[in-house]
């Protein structure tokens, strides 16, 4: 199996789809010959031509509006928004159009063939506008699927599943890990299921939940806790919407303790939704209050990024607090 970084894994997934499906089209700002500012679409224009992989004008609402129309027409539309921080001009097209296309038409029309790829997340000295994790805004919108991979293997398998899924999917790519995360990725075609969380480490004392780049942080915290003799079960949620309640609830029922961590600010983040549901599902099994370890309720900072972030030490503290409650 080849070693790939996360970008190469995404490129491999796009290449796989474009090779098998001549109605698959990749586009976005700088996506064409340049291959995207992060190079996720490198080589695709050379291989599949300018009509199937191209630059768009600098207009996010236009990119997604165009993508909605293209997907409604039956093409496989794979749109890139250069940074998730810049997805908001397209918010109306995503929330009012992509998400409601099938429902409002009584299934006369749909944009199931739409996938929006966008890099998200902090830890790269990107400040307010190159660091945000806006998944919760979209998780509040029935009709969308929201997917976040944690490593190259997950990225390829989940992206292939997202593109082929018959619903509009927003695929958030953890840009901090684009080159930092390297692992074995099959060259061939494979899919990982949407709507399914994965238990990445078995444990018995406490359940830790995260998604995307935050899984690695949680793993670091679990390693610290393990040195204290605490056995952590770690779950990668993988799909934010619709999310896998069963896997998480089963784990918390077993461990009785639960910490959920996200990069985004605490208030009204997706961790809050999870906490509310797990409280309801596992109330009689809980040994301690559910803890949310999240970004602070500020815009994403620059110089004080370390202080702001939900790092492994804050999660480690939350684990200990839960264990000693």
């Amino acid at each position: 199996m080849a070693q790939m970084n996360l970008l190469q894994a995404i490129n491999s997934a796009l290449d796989t789809v474009m090779a098998e499906n001549d109605r698959a089209v990749c586009f976005g700002e700088d996506v064409g010959h340049f291959g995207g500012v992060f190079r996720a679409t490198s080589g695709l224009q050379e291989k599949y031509g300018k009509s199937r992989c191209f630059n768009t004008p600098l207009v996010e609402q236009g990119v997604i509006g165009f993508a909605n129309g293209l997907a409604a027409q039956g093409s496989t539309a794979i749109a890139e928004i250069q940074f998730a921080d810049y997805i908001f001009p397209a918010f109306d097209q995503i929330v009012n159009e992509s998400a409601k296309f099938r429902y409002r038409s009584g299934n006369e029309f749909n944009v199931g063939k739409l996938t929006i790829r966008t890099p998200y997340g902090g830890g790269i000295a990107g400040g307010l506008y190159h660091s945000q994790s806006p998944e919760a805004y979209f998780a509040h919108t029935p009709g969308l699927k929201v997917v976040v991979p944690r490593n190259p293997y997950q990225a390829k398998g989940l992206l292939l599943a997202s593109i082929r899924d018959d619903n509009p999917v927003i695929f958030f790519e953890p840009k901090r890990l684009y080159r930092a995360s390297v692992g074995e990725v099959p060259a061939e075609d494979y899919e990982l299921p949407l709507g399914k969380a994965e238990v990445v480490q078995k444990g018995s004392d406490i359940t830790l939940l995260a998604w995307g780049a935050q899984v690695e942080i949680v793993e670091k915290a679990a390693a610290l806790a393990a040195a204290d003799g605490i056995s952590c079960e770690i779950i990668d949620l993988r799909t934010i919407l619709p999310w896998d309640i069963e896997t998480v609830a089963n784990s918390v029922t077993k461990t009785g303790r639960f910490v959920v961590s996200q990069e985004a600010p605490l208030t009204a983040g997706f961790a809050s939704e999870i906490a509310a549901t797990i409280q309801q599902e596992c109330f009689l099994h809980l040994e301690a209050p559910i803890a949310r370890v999240c970004g602070m309720d500020t815009p994403y900072p620059l110089a004080l990024e370390k202080e702001y972030a939900a790092d492994h030490l804050k999660i480690y503290e939350a684990i200990k607090n839960s264990m000693t409650y």
């Binding site: 165009f66 129309g69 409604a72």
Partner: protein, 394 residues
């Protein structure tokens, strides 16, 4: 990089501004109000059969609008939007296209759907949100859509269809289809960001779209002079490097001619076109609006003299393709049919409660299913509060 535009520009050494109104835009008129044709006018490709179908569609449109505004006043439906005075834009648009062309309308283009053959029953079922509505009773009246007839389901947010039309047409072109997309919007919606996004995307990516602006003078209460100060919407097409034409929107022959030529161009060159049709919204914006608060009777009376349906009728009479007896019989028949259809549609049951959760996704996710299961238990507990569904829960 394309720098030709700069190398070809004449060079000056004193500041020379271009006036915002320096582009002169002529307006195409073919048919006079009395039914005669302007001298040397270039006629569209239209025979008696197409003309008769077009005229009958206009008549149906007028009758349906009149009756449904009345039905709303009687409290039988919640909402309606008439297109009084600007029916030629939508009916003529469809008449200039082929059936395989996609129509992406704003909301006041029911005439295009009528031309395509959407049945009276289908219109009624949508407006009464009953279980036979293709949209499953999910959208307010007049939000029609039909896959079979290539008429994209209406979405209330303004202008969202404009960049979508660019994408839809791009897909048609990639597939090598003999098909274009027509995209309707008003001069008010042309202020939305999606207008600028959509026109530029279509121009840059060479998508075969016919952008059709119905400039009817008003966005609800806001007159066009408070919407923009440029030379209408057409001047913007020039800015986006797009072939552009301005027409008399109440002149059905000008509409058909412009759309036929635009279609030919869009297919042959694989590029978009902008049509600006000048018209006037004679009726209210919707049944929730009252124009007497923002414009005068005199202004409306002036535009009543430009009625596009009467204009076409006069032409049909002059052609010998229509007579007054046919006219009376047609309108009588249409009024009877619409009244009868109202009575049928309002008695058809509301959609089943299952339609609440289908089509959010291709399949119902587990959490939504469990919410639905809880809802059914709740409805059974309080059946009197949910009379449309309580008796039908399985």
């Amino acid at each position: 990089m394309n720098t030709d535009i700069y190398s070809e520009s004449p060079v000056v050494h004193e500041p020379a501004f271009i006036d915002g109104h320096s582009v002169e835009i002529p307006i195409l008129k073919i048919l006079k109000q009395d039914g005669s044709i302007y001298k040397n006018a270039a006629m569209p490709n239209i025979d008696q059969e197409l003309a008769t179908k077009t005229y009958k569609t206009l008549a149906f449109h007028r009758v349906l609008d009149e009756r449904m505004v009345a039905a709303q006043r009687q409290g039988r439906i919640s909402f309606y939007m008439a297109a009084l005075g600007e029916e030629a834009a939508s009916v003529g648009g469809a008449a200039g296209l082929k059936d395989q062309d996609m129509i992406m309308a704003q909301y006041r283009e029911q005439g295009a759907l009528m031309f395509r053959g959407f049945s009276l029953e289908n219109f009624m079922n949508q407006m009464f949100s009953n279980e036979k509505d293709l949209g499953k009773g999910r959208q307010m009246p007049i939000h029609y859509g039909s896959r079979e007839l290539n008429y994209m389901t209406i979405s209330s947010p303004l202008g969202t269809q404009i960049p979508q039309a660019a994408g839809y047409a791009y897909g048609q072109k990639m597939q090598g289809l003999d098909a274009v997309t027509i995209c309707y919007f008003g001069e008010g919606a042309a202020s939305e960001g999606d207008f600028h996004a959509g026109l530029n995307m279509a121009a840059v990516h060479q998508a075969p779209v016919i952008f059709f602006c119905r400039n009817n003078g008003y966005a609800i209460s806001t007159p066009s002079e408070e919407q923009y100060v440029g030379n209408g919407i057409a001047s913007r097409g020039v800015g986006y490097g797009m072939k552009t034409i301005r027409i008399d929107g109440n002149d059905i022959l000008a509409v058909i001619a412009a759309v036929q030529l635009s279609r030919e161009y869009a297919i042959k060159e694989g590029k978009p076109v902008l049509i600006e049709a000048m018209s006037y919204r004679l009726g209210a914006h919707s049944t929730s609006d009252d124009p007497s608060g923002y414009r005068t009777r005199e202004e409306e009376a002036k535009w009543q003299e430009h009625d596009p349906i009467l204009r076409m009728k006069n032409w049909m009479l002059a052609q010998g393709w229509w007579d007054e007896a046919q006219e009376t019989a047609l309108f009588e028949k249409l009024r009877d049919e619409v009244l009868a259809a109202v009575k049928v549609a309002e008695k058809i049951a509301k959609p089943p409660v299952e339609d609440l959760i289908t089509d959010v996704y291709d399949q119902v996710p587990p959490l939504l299913q469990s919410q639905f299961d809880e809802l059914k238990v709740h409805i059974k507990k309080y059946p009197q509060a949910y009379p449309f569904t309580a008796g039908r829960i399985k």
